[in-house]
Assembly symmetry: C2
């Protein structure tokens, strides 16, 4: 019998480095799979449909919502983001550990459905550092950077109450090790370990 | 300001390999310190007073209890074991991560005093394997082995309800990695991470 995989909610301000940390962690965690979200935002240069996101029109997105095909969805700044339900359920049943890289609104909705979800929030060492990283990316106009910073502060406050783990991404290799350790430790949680009390 | 260390309760049947796993983990966790228990049991060949245990007479032990010098103590089979309180408090304040290698009775008492204690229980892959390990040690008569096996079953049942983590010691290197991951993950627990929300 396959042990069901872990459902991992991985949140944190845009620009904090979630994708890089996941990339590093995937080298050590062979069952780790990242959920590809559905979004109505336009692709950034280099982003591939079906790989980075499923890019959909607002009309198509709303149809998916109506058909119950999204596990959660949320409006963030000007666009919508959602998690495809069927894919999550299939992969978990097959024993994969699934990462949902979603905001705290979505995280709360997922945890309501999966109370054992592993909730991880990643923070920059300081908010000043986060601003620097957002500006350095150079893909967003200034007012979007400012709105993302405000959103980050709000998310941090929720995460302090609602998330299990906080990873401080000061240096990527350390943050990767933290992420990997959390997954390994969670597999040792009492409810997840099967004990054989038969004395044979 | 020094971040206080973790208090780790590490329990599991006698013979399951706790000492070896701690030895391996200490190579990776430089702040890890093991508490030296006070005991009334006689030293085994090679054991050093003050290093493996503080060996004391029953009279001396009872005096320590009366003076409140033990954080917890318990009778296990024919002897008493206790944890020196002052040492634990000093080391935690200095930021060391402390391991108390104690039975589940003691573990429950420690958690009552330190609700944030990290509770880890180690199990053998099967009870048959545990018997083999106890017999292989050859330092105990058969009836002691039988009593230890019965005690192990009782402890397992409590651990399934009361402990956070269960490490299955099938192979030592894997069990060491589990232990190290748990400590690293626990340092990322939300309550233990200090967030700087000042935007400077």
């Amino acid at each position: 019998m396959t042990q069901p995989g872990l459902l991992i909610v991985f949140s944190g301000p845009s620009g904090v480095g979630k994708s890089k940390v996941l990339e590093g962690a995937a080298y050590q965690l062979h069952n780790l799979r990242k959920s590809v979200s559905v979004t109505t935002r336009p692709p950034r240069p280099g982003e591939v449909d079906g790989q980075d996101y499923h890019f959909r029109s607002t009309f198509e997105f709303d149809q998916m919502v109506a058909r119950g095909e999204l596990l959660e969805w949320a409006q963030y700044i000007d666009h919508r983001y959602g998690t495809p339900r069927a894919w999550v359920e299939e992969r978990l049943a097959q024993g994969d550990d699934l990462v949902l890289e979603i905001d705290v609104q979505g995280g709360m909705r997922v945890r309501a459905l999966y109370p054992n979800a592993v909730m991880i929030f990643m923070i920059p060492p300081t908010l000043a550092e986060l601003r620097r990283r957002l500006q350095g990316r150079n893909t967003e106009p200034d007012k979007v950077v400012a709105r993302r910073l405000e959103a980050a502060k709000g998310e941090l406050k929720i995460a302090q109450k609602e998330y299990c783990y906080i990873i401080c991404n000061d240096r990527i290799p350390e943050a990767v090790e933290d992420f990997v350790a959390i997954i390994r430790a969670e597999k040792c949680r009492t409810g997840r370990v099967t004990l054989d009390l038969n004395d044979k």
